[in-house]
């Protein structure tokens, strides 16, 4: 069992969904994949297909139009799965907090495991967030084993 758990920690494939952000965080996520930051060091691949993804990176506030898309994508991801809210908007709505069409943070729609503040977030923060999320997954897997 140890081997599989280790694999889960070593190979988080991410799915990125833009929920209505300003693009700042999106391009930083992409930037995190590029040579300077190279998320692939951690086995991270931007897979783009919810059915094969482990980590859902959400940017931007949930709004009245796209919350169903977010929900759908989350439901199409098999367990174990993690959700990381990337950016201030995804955490709370941020600068869009009083926009009429915005529901607020994405935790209104799907359960969020890690919140990353920043507008826009820096690639280093994304790396930190993934490490945090994986720690949480490790904790989860351990507690399951105890049961």
């Amino acid at each position: 069992m140890g081997l599989i758990q280790k694999s889960q920690l070593k190979s988080p494939w991410v799915l990125h969904f833009d929920c209505g952000s300003c693009n700042g965080c999106d391009i930083e996520i992409l930037a995190a994949l590029t040579p300077k930051f190279d998320l692939e060091r951690f086995g991270i691949v931007n897979i783009g297909d919810p059915k094969q993804a482990d980590v859902l990176l959400v940017t931007g506030p949930a709004n009245k139009r796209n919350h169903r898309v977010l929900k759908n994508l989350y439901n199409q991801m098999p367990q174990p799965k993690l959700v990381i809210a990337v950016g201030t908007c995804a955490c709370t709505g941020g600068v869009f907090h009083n926009c009429p069409n915005v529901l607020g943070g994405v935790d209104n729609v799907v359960p969020v495991d890690v919140y990353v503040p920043g507008c826009a977030v820096r690639p280093e923060q994304i790396i930190d967030a993934v490490v945090l999320a994986l720690n949480k997954l490790a904790g989860l897997a351990q507690s399951e084993e105890e049961e």
Partner: protein, 640 residues
């Protein structure tokens, strides 16, 4: 022993004719069913019994010879009548081209006398087996099919008597043909198959059916004319029209022209380029007709003729041209089949292509290639019969011949579709027999001189990839099922359907798995008559000396894999989730997605046809031109 053999010969030729006549005369569905079923059983039984008999000759007697003569003239006059009725110049012309020379040949030259009129050897027996087993199954299948068909057409008066008469007559004529040693008798039975073919194609009586039937007829009549050419050549060079005499005679250019005539006849019957259009037109007939024409009878007549004369042509240029015609046909039809929409047209192109492959193998004319040809012939008949029967059932169920409507058929007609899927797999995938044949064919090609083999190698490479393509995409399209966990649909089928399809399926699988046995016991003895043996097969393996096909281990591995796969996937199980649709799935509706203004749209898929890439019209034209050119070359090479 001889008596026993002669009885079986008489049975296989006479019984279908008699029971066919009976079905024409006797009314009633039950009587007909019983009659046909019994005939089928007897035919299967007697053809299997024939396997135990070694070579013998047989002269039926004067009365039969006279009868053949009279009937032949009657037949030719009928063709003339048909030509006049349908105002078809080719039919009239070709009928006259036969009538006059035959009359001259018979009444002036008295050339039809032959010592051994009938000759039963391994090749005949093998062909009889194919004709009767597959043919009988198709005829039984037709019992159910024609009921549904006539119900569908809402006919007031049943025309099934006529239908089964010609079906059975076709079987009888085929049997008679493969026994014939006299070219005249061969020619006579040949013309009867043409007649049956004509009558069966126009069975439904629509305008399209009539036109296509006439086309089929005049193309078949070209074969008849070619036969007469051979008869004259035989008479003037060898002094006899017995096949055995002609084949053993010293090859002279004139004699080769005679063989070229026979090859031409074979091409016209086997629908090789440029004669492929009649077989495509024959699709208008009820499906059992197609099943019969494509699998075991009609087209096999041409193959039989080529296989029969091939040993005499060893090492001639004529043989190479025959191979070239086959190879070109194989490749071009495989490409054309990709873009066909009508299910039966795909099957038809596949038939033409596979016949081309067999003719190519016969033309290459080595021991190995001849083996390949026989294996291919055997398995092709079974698989194609199966596929046509499946296609017929589907057609009657969903009222469409368009394969675009076949999407996800496995959910609607699980039994028939499974039969079809396996049937398709037997056509092009290992470890089934057709692929074994193709594999032997490739081995055969590389053991021939390169200068000649290279173009054929390239044609085969392209052709077999295209074959995989068009079968595979069709096979895949049948499995396109929506994502919901749906209830298993029960499919009810009449017994003849079930019997026919299950029977042929079982035959196909068992013989594929037992291919080494088949090769040892049926194919090799047949090869041994004309060639040195080159394929050795043990219980598990077929070895050509160039490669080895491990039939046994392959089957064991495949079966083990399926079992293991079922076990593991059962254990793992899984939750069925809707398809990926960009996250806009409509809840509870697996194939719908939200689109503009929150409207719902259905995600759909089309078939793969490469319609904009393959230009059928110009390819067809090209095929005809190259076919005509090759035939001209075929007659010219003798001069060299």
């Amino acid at each position: 022993m001889a008596i026993y053999g002669q009885t079986l010969v008489a049975l296989t030729v006479g019984l279908p004719v008699v029971s066919g006549l009976a079905s024409l005369v006797l009314p009633g569905k039950t009587i007909r069913s019983v009659l046909v079923s019994v005939t089928a059983l007897v035919l299967i039984g007697s053809s299997v019994s024939l396997l135990g008999i070694s070579e013998f000759t047989y002269n039926p007697g004067h009365i039969y010879e006279t009868a053949v003569l009279v009937l032949d003239f009657a037949l030719l006059f009928y063709f003339l009548y048909v030509g006049m009725k349908s105002k078809s110049l080719p039919v009239i012309g070709l009928s006259l081209l036969q009538l006059v020379p035959v009359a001259y040949f018979e009444f002036v030259l008295h050339g039809v006398k032959v010592e051994n009129i009938l000759l039963v050897d391994r090749l005949s027996v093998f062909l009889v087996l194919i004709v009767n087993v597959v043919g009988s199954v198709v005829v039984v299948y037709a019992l159910s099919y024609m009921e549904e068909h006539e119900h569908h057409l809402q006919l007031k008066e049943s025309r099934q008597g006529r239908f089964f008469f010609f079906m059975l007559l076709l079987l009888g004529a085929m049997n008679g043909m493969v026994y014939s040693n006299s070219l005249y008798w061969l020619y006579f039975f040949w013309e009867i198959t043409s007649l049956c073919c004509y009558e069966l194609i126009r069975h439904d009586g629509t305008a399209e059916a009539n036109t296509n039937a006439v086309t089929a007829l005049w193309m078949a009549l070209i074969g008849g004319v070619a036969f007469i050419g051979t008869m004259f050549v035989g008479y003037y060079t060898v002094g006899s029209i017995a096949l055995t005499k002609i084949m053993t005679a010293q090859l002279t250019p004139i004699l080769l022209v005679g063989f070229a005539f026979l090859a031409l006849a074979a091409f016209s019957k086997s629908a090789q380029f440029p004669f492929h259009s009649w077989l495509l037109g024959a699709m208008v007939a009820p499906t059992p007709v197609s099943a019969l024409l494509h699998s075991s009878t009609m087209v096999n007549a041409g193959i039989y003729l080529i296989l029969r004369i091939a040993p005499a042509l060893k090492g001639t240029y004529l043989s190479l041209v025959i191979a070239a015609v086959g190879a070109v046909t194989f490749t071009l039809t495989a490409i054309l089949a990709i873009r066909q929409k009508v299910s039966k047209r795909v099957l038809a192109f596949s038939t033409i292509g596979n016949l081309g492959l067999i003719i190519m193998c016969a033309g290459i004319n080595t021991s190995l290639s001849y083996t390949a040809a026989v294996i291919l012939l055997f398995f092709h008949s079974i698989s194609k019969g199966l596929l046509f029967m499946g296609a017929g059932v589907v057609e009657n169920r969903i009222n469409s011949r368009n394969i675009e409507d076949w999407e996800g058929l496995i959910g609607k007609l699980p039994f028939t579709t499974t039969v079809m899927l396996v049937g398709m797999a037997t056509m092009f995938l290992p470890p089934f027999g057709m692929l074994l044949g193709k594999w032997v064919a490739v081995d055969a090609i590389i053991s021939t001189p390169l200068a000649f083999a290279l173009p054929i190698i390239i044609l085969i490479c392209i052709g077999s990839a295209a074959t995989t393509f068009f079968w595979g995409k069709w096979l895949g399209y049948l499995t396109v099922t929506p994502m919901t966990a749906q209830k298993q649909v029960k499919e009810t089928l009449p017994t003849p359907y079930r019997f026919a399809m299950m029977g042929l399926l079982a035959v196909s699988i068992v013989f594929s798995a037992g291919a080494p046995y088949i090769i040892n016991n049926f194919v090799n003895p047949l090869i041994g008559e004309a060639y040195k043996l080159s394929v050795t097969s043990t219980l598990m393996e077929v070895n050509t000396g160039i490669g080895s096909f491990l039939v046994g281990p392959f089957w064991i591995a495949t079966v083990a894999m399926v079992l293991l796969g079922v076990m593991i996937t059962k254990k793992k199980g899984g939750v069925i989730v809707p398809a990926y649709l960009g996250g806009e799935n409509v809840p509870e509706k697996p194939l719908m997605f939200f689109t503009t203004a929150d409207g719902e749209a259905e995600a759909s898929v089309s078939t793969v046809m490469l319609q904009s890439e393959i230009d059928e019209a110009s390819l067809n034209k090209f095929a005809v031109i190259i076919g005509v050119l090759l035939i001209i070359v075929m007659f010219l090479v003798e001069v060299i």
